[in-house]
Each structure stands twice: as C-alpha cells, then as structure tokens.
C-alpha cells in the first residue's frame, strides 16, 4: 500500500520517541501536548519533512493520551481534554481498579485515534478540493468562522473572550504590511525606537511557547511550586483488565470517536469540549445514567475515545484550509513553515507524500501509543511524580533553544519568549483569556489580508453576502457555531469551569 511506503526505521523510531515524549508531557499536570511539541521542535530543524512529521504527530498523539494517567491516578486532568476522564477514572482507582481503568482508557484512546485517522483521510481531501475554489471573500469568511471558536473556548465571560481575541489580532498586526501578500510594505503599530527589532512583527513560535510554557512556570513559581499530592499508589494490587469490558460498548466507542473527531474539526474548540460533549452523550444514551461518575468503564470509554478522536479531527482544517484546530496544531503549522511547506487547499495534491506520511504517522503513533502504554503503564505512571524543580528549568532551556533557532539565531525571538510569558501571566491575573488571544494572534494576519483584499477588489461591504453560495453556507456555519457555543457554554458550564483554576494558561 502506497500509504505505508514512506515508513522507514528512522520514521518509526522518531514516531515512537515522539509518543514517549508526548506521554511524559501529557502525564505531568500542567505540561501539555502543545508544550511537548514546542520543546521538541528544535529537533526537527535537522530532520526532513517526513521525519519531522513522524516525530511531531507522535508527540501530539502521546501528549493527548498521556493526560489520562494523572486523571485516573490523581484526579488531576493531565491535559484539559482528560477532564471527563477523572469523573469515572478516579473513582475506579479508589475502588482499587487503577490498572484496569488505565488500560480501558488506553484501549479507548487507540479506538478514538484510529476512527479519527479514517475520517481525516476521507474528509481532508474533499474539503481541500472545495477550498481551492475560494476567493478572498470565502477565505475571509473561513477565518471568521475559525474565530467564532473564541466564543466557545471563552471561560467565564464571552465578551472578555472576544476582547482577548481582538487583542491577539491586534498584536499579530504589529510589523510590516508585507508586499508579498499584497500590502504596501509600510510598518504599523511600532514605536519608532523598536523599528529595527519589530520590522517583521513577533514570531509565532516564541509567542506560543512563551504564553504556554513560561507563563505556566511563572504561575507555578508564584504558587510556590510545591510538590503535588504524592499518594502512595500500589498499582500491583489493582483489578485485572479484560477486553470483555468493551462488550456492549461498540456504539459508545463509535459515537464518542466521531464526536471527538468532528468537534476537533471545528477550529479551536479544543479537547475539553470534545470529551465533555461525548461524556454527556454517553450519559444521555446510557441505560443506567445514574452510574456514570461513580467509576464505570462506560464514562471512561466515552471520554478517552473522544479526546483521541480529536487528533485526526484537528488535522482536517489544518491540512485542507491551513487553519489550526487548536494551539497544538498551531505549533504544527510552525513546523511545516520551517520545512518550507505551505498548508492549505493545495497541500494534499501538491505534497501527496507528505500527506501520506502524515496519515501513516497518525496511524502508527496511535498503535505505538497503545503498545507502549498498555505494556509499560506502570513505568509511565511514575512520571506523575517527577519533581517540578528539576523539570521547569529544563523546559525553560529547551524553549530557549526552540525560540532562538526558529529564525536561525535571532536573540529578539528569545526575548519575545519572556515578554509573552509575562504578558500571559499578567493577562491571566486581569482575567484576560489566553487561548482566545492566541487564536486571534495566529489568524490575525490572514484575517486582515483577506478582508482588505476583498474590499479592495470589490469596493463594497455587501460582497461578503453576495459573492457566492459558498459564502451563504459559511455565514450559516458561522451563525451555527456561535449558537452552538452559546448553548454549550450555558449547558456545560459546571464541567468546564472545573478546569478554570488553571486560569487558561495551560492550553486546550
């Protein structure tokens, strides 16, 4: 099969390495898949595109999966997308079924990942074919659609979420309005004295890493970086895992996997929404809904299948439209840029090999994740207990390497890391929301170009409504997305706010 022609020992090794790294990051509360990608990114400078993809997708899958370890063992979601895993996973641990719960989670993760890989392989090319015909107007609407996500990832006030997103957009505009996208090469929003430094604006990656890694470390330091609850867990005394648990859960698995994938498809909605939605559905369809939350496999399966389903889903808008589905895939965009590959409607047909290697990496990473975690879960579980004072300085150093190397050695990018680390840390204090701000920052420039170019070409605001039927469909999607997020916000507030203590510094 052509799909697997690109698999070499090197890519397999890198995938496996990525999965291990990802699981470790995912397993440590406060560290996330995004951070794993950011930290490992410098390594990809030395790799070719296929190898880089293998490593990064391995990290992505591992990072999302690793979150289930502290969720089940310590009742702390290792990544936001494993919030609902705690609902049934931790009660199982308390009943002395920790290993059984972990293994149910691992098998569910595998199913979720594979379902989403299949959906990705079918949907992304179709969406890309459609997107090729888009003009500035439709592209503007697509970006606007992506931005509506800000409404649904807003924690607390939606207005503040919008404000944060707008600030992100404004920050992205700092620098030159470049002529290669049709601008006039004038700079804007820069004080005179900073002109030489900020001519090209802030680089995406240092901003991302700073806002996630450094800000998280600063707020941990503020809290004293105390050691977490070191529970003496004896994993060897746990109940045994049997595949028969999945009997009668087939529908649950498919429903949750598909929910995860399609929520991931909506740009930026993020893992917590996917698993919360899937958990709610599992509860609605359950024969004994009152049992969910007391430590039954059903809830665990729904949560873990959905959050791994997310991985393939989030890659769909990434490859077909060039829009990141969440902050983790935003770092992937950075990696593609490094390799000189432009993501978007032309990507799949223009780079069939890269596309194939992406799919095969996704499938292989899921399998590697399964094998590694299923058989070595006891060792991975120990990661939860690595002391922060060892970990954090190492992360700062790795982030520095990543930031410095991104533009081949610009010290200002390293300072950007610190600046945005502080911005995010202060931002959290004054209740600004970091994930919406980042989405705004990532999409801001494209929003500007497509908006201004549409108006320059057609000379009227009405063009956004009258250009084509696709434009109508996109408006419909935008409205639906806003309505949906208002509904979700309203309905699931209690579940999502459980995560609010992280104050949004950690990503989705």
């Amino acid at each position: 099969m052509e799909l697997f022609a690109l698999i070499t020992p090197m890519t397999l090794m890198l995938s496996t390495l990525g999965v291990i790294g990802g699981i470790i990051f995912g397993a440590i509360p406060g560290m996330t898949a995004t951070m794993a990608l950011a930290v490992f990114l410098p390594l990809t400078y030395a790799l070719d595109l296929y190898q880089a993809l293998a490593l990064l997708i391995g990290l992505y899958v591992g990072g999302i999966s690793g979150g289930l370890i502290p969720a089940v063992l310590l009742n702390i979601p290792g990544t936001p997308s494993s919030i609902t895993t705690t609902f049934d996973g931790y009660p199982m641990t308390r009943k002395g079924e920790s290993v059984r719960a972990l293994k149910i989670g691992i098998v569910s993760s595998l199913f979720g990942g594979l379902i989403s890989a299949v959906v990705l392989s079918v949907f992304a090319p179709a969406l890309a074919d459609l997107a090729i015909r888009f003009s500035y107007v439709e592209k503007f609407l697509i970006i606007l659609f992506a931005l509506t996500v800000i409404a649904s990832i807003s924690q607390g006030s939606m207005l503040v979420g919008l404000l944060s997103g707008s600030i992100g957009i404004l920050l992205s505009l700092v620098g030159t309005y470049e002529s290669n996208v049709g601008g006039n090469d004038h700079t804007r929003l820069i004080p005179e004295m900073l002109k030489p430094l900020l001519r090209n604006g802030f680089s995406l990656l240092p901003v991302l890493i700073g806002m996630f890694a450094l800000a998280a470390i600063f707020s941990e330091a503020e809290r004293g970086a105390e050691a977490g609850e070191h529970q003496k867990l004896d994993l060897s005394k746990s109940a045994k895992f049997k595949m028969s648990v999945f009997k009668g859960q087939i529908i649950n698995v498919f429903r949750s996997g598909l929910i995860g994938t399609f929520v991931g498809l909506l740009p930026g909605v993020g893992g917590s929404a996917a698993s919360v939605l899937s958990y709610t559905q599992a509860k609605n369809f359950s024969k004994k809904p009152e049992n969910l939350g007391t430590g039954v496999p059903e809830g665990l399966i729904a949560s873990e299948t959905a959050n791994n389903g997310l991985t393939g889903g989030a890659l769909i808008p990434l490859v077909s439209l060039g829009i990141p589905g969440d902050s983790t895939t935003a770092v992937l965009i950075g990696a593609f840029t490094l390799q000189g590959v432009q993501l978007g409607p032309l990507f799949i047909n223009g780079n069939p090999q890269a596309w194939n290697s992406m799919l095969s990496s996704l499938i292989f990473s899921n399998i590697a994740m399964f094998v590694l975690m299923f058989f070595a879960i006891k060792y991975f579980a120990k990661v939860v207990f690595v002391p922060k004072f060892i970990l954090y300085p190492i992360i700062v150093v790795m982030c520095t390497v990543g930031a410095y190397a991104i533009n081949y050695g610009i010290m200002f990018d390293v300072w950007t890391l610190l600046i945005f680390g502080l911005v995010a840390w202060v931002g959290c204090k004054i209740k600004l929301q970091i994930p919406p701000l980042l989405i705004g920052f990532i999409l801001g420039r494209q929003l500007e170009v497509y908006f201004v170019k549409s108006l320059e070409s057609f000379g009227t605001f009405t063009i956004f409504f009258t250009k084509s039927k696709i434009a109508w469909v996109l408006w419909l999607l935008i409205l639906l997305s806003i309505a949906w997020s208002i509904m979700i916000n309203y309905k699931h507030k209690p579940a999502i706010s459980k995560n609010e203590e992280s104050c949004g510094c950690e990503d989705e």
Binding site: L43, A46, L159, L163, Y177, G224, P387, Y392, P393, T400
Partner: protein, 149 residues
C-alpha cells in the same frame, strides 16, 4: 484613508491600506472595553458590591511566593541577557548557551526547591544542571548544526 460614497461601498487608498485594518481592530477593542466596563459597573452597582470588589481584587495569589516568583522571572531575564553576552565572545559555537545554561538550571532549581529542601535534592539538581545543557549542546549544536547563542 478609506472614503465611502454611500453607506456600504468603500475605496481603500493603497498608500494607507496598512492602517485600515489595525484602526478597525483598535475600534473593536475600545468598543468591547466600553461594553465590558459598563456591564461590570452596572452589575456591581446593582448588587451594591462595587466597593467590596475593588478592595477585594487581588493581583497575586494568596500568600504568593515572592522569592520563587520574582526569582524565576529575574533569573530567566538574566539568563537570556548573559547568554547573548557570553555568546558574543564565541560566535557560532553555541558556547554562550552551554556556559550560561548550567548555572541557570542550577539557580532556578535551587529557587524552586527552596533553601530547606536543597540539601536533600542537591545531587539530582547538580546532575540535571550539568547534563541537560551538555546533552542539548552536543545534540543541537554538534550533531544537528542548529544555531545556538
């Protein structure tokens, strides 16, 4: 500047087109700030909780750890500054990174672990502060030829 002949048509002057969108965004931000400000003020006035909320606002966490917080921010800043400075003496060798990362990891670990617990963990801190920079320097600068400060 954009000139509009009727309400919905618009002509954007190319020479100032770089300012067109930023101006809109600044407008949006000001508008949102006003709405949020008024909304918050109205709710607070209605509850009569304005004074209490203003007083109750706390920027830092309760009993926040001053030394660890400021210490880590300052040590990161000093680290970045010195890295560039030291790296200037050894262009393109990444030695600025190597020489400054070792003390940085040590200092930051010391800060985070705290004076009282340092003795207990000094060996692991020492190992991590030497091994991490050395390993990444060999890996990035020597094996992969990645530019380091």
């Amino acid at each position: 500047m954009p000139e509009s002949s009727d309400f919905l048509s618009i002509i954007i002057d190319f020479d100032t087109s770089h300012l067109f969108f930023p101006k809109i965004m600044i407008g949006v931000i000001i508008l949102l700030l006003l709405i949020i400000g008024i909304k918050e003020l109205v709710t607070r006035l209605r509850n009569g909780s304005l004074k209490r909320d203003l007083k109750g606002f706390r920027f830092f966490e309760k009993n926040y750890n001053k030394i660890k917080l400021y210490g880590s921010i300052i040590s990161v800043a000093v680290y970045f500054f010195l890295m560039d400075f030291v790296g200037g003496f050894f262009p393109n060798q990444g030695l600025g990174f190597l020489f400054t990362s070792i003390p940085f990891i040590f200092v930051m670990s010391f800060l985070l672990v705290g004076k009282d617990n340092f003795k207990k963990h000094r060996i692991s801190i020492l190992i991590s502060s030497v091994v991490t920079p050395l390993f990444s320097w060999i890996l990035f600068a020597k094996m992969f030829y990645i530019t380091l400060p």
